[in-house]
Amino acid sequence: MTVTPILAGEIAKKVISKEAFFILDVRNEDAFSDWKIEGENIQYLNIPYFDVLDGVEGILDQIPTDQDVVVVCAKEGSSIFVAEMLAEAGRDVRYLQGGMKAWSEHLEPVKVGDLKDGGAIYQFVRIGKGCLSYMIVSNGEAAIVDATRMTDVFIDFAKQLDVKITNVLDTHLHADHISGGREIAEAVNGTYWLPPKDATEVTFAYEPLEDGRVITVGTSKIDIQALYSPGHTIGSTSFIVDDAYLLSGDILFIDSIGRPDLAGLAEDWVGDLRDTLYSRYRELAEGLLVLPAHFMIIEELNDDGSVSETLGKLFANNHGLNIEDEQEFRQLVTGNLPPQPNAYQEIRQTNMGKITPDEETQREMEIGPNRCAVR
């Protein structure tokens, strides 16, 4: 029997199409319970590879023969090791090429919609980590929002569309993943925008994103309006694109809201968060399509793999937008916070330009789910 690799992109397609398959995850139990490949119809078995070094006979009856079996580990070495033993035992299995690291880095581009003057907006779904980036394209130009450090993906995508990246924006100083924004802006000689209140300690030059500022993409003038919306960080800014899309950063998600504590000031910022969600956002048109910077659970994906919902629907259905009592709201966002993202302090310092870890270290820093939300 044979062992063949499967790419992270193929698994992403299985997850989006809700295909049923089986994952044998051979990482240790802590790593598995902290973060794994999520999918609505995935069955799992977690057996650390070091428990089957003597052979896989003991687990064969737990591994199905009537569906695809993918062996997964951190980098791929152990999954190949176990997959080969399963093949010797007569099973057809695949292993995830590049392991959870490749899964963490895979970006799936999805077109979210058209712009009035012929442009389009694309979402890049980092399915393994729950990060969402955007490319707004109009008349030969592109703007990128909340880019991940896999900068080639964005630059190549713009090349394919034959558009020039002119503006690169971050909604806030990220704490869960390393931004690729500055690197892309430097590579294409574009302008890098950051909210100044999040950028007081950065070591590089940037263009300040201030409330009411308008950035134009393409000759047909697609406007990106900056809307100051503090709460996740003090500088957090949302963007309204083409009067139709609300890029909400880490303030508002589909099924959750932003957490205010990742820069260490939960108590101070909870009031800002409430003000943004319950006052500023209330003044916006309910027909705006909300495009957040994250998703937390796989159920937030639409059928085409994108993550979006109208502001009106979120006002009706998102629990975090429907807490009348301010004390109760305060309790939700400060009293019951999930664990902080892996290496979030070092990630913030990297995004400020204070430290420059090598690529392997950056990968390690980003291991795990994003954890930027509270439900």
């Binding site: 802590d30 790593a31 650390p48 580990c73 070495g77 152990s78």
Partner: protein, 75 residues
């Protein structure tokens, strides 16, 4: 610390540090200490989890200039 054996697993990627550690410790007596040097970052969590699951004791571990050193007492 009374180290009975030293295993050099530097440069080896997962799963080899654990595979070698397991093989080496099999040839040792209960209560003896195995010192392991590794450079694979994943080995930190894996050797700890493996030692626990196999009834050995992680006595100490440290990192210096990218090299992880582990002291595991055979159980």
């Amino acid at each position: 610390m009374n180290v009975a054996k030293v295993l050099d697993a530097k440069g080896l990627a997962c799963p080899m540090p654990v595979v070698r550690a397991r093989k080496t410790i099999k040839e040792m007596e209960t209560g003896e200490i195995l010192e392991i040097h590794a450079t694979d970052k994943g080995s930190m969590a894996d050797l700890t989890a493996w030692a626990k699951a196999s009834g050995h004791e992680m006595v100490d571990q440290k990192e210096d200039a990218g090299v992880f050193t582990f002291y595991i007492k055979k159980g």
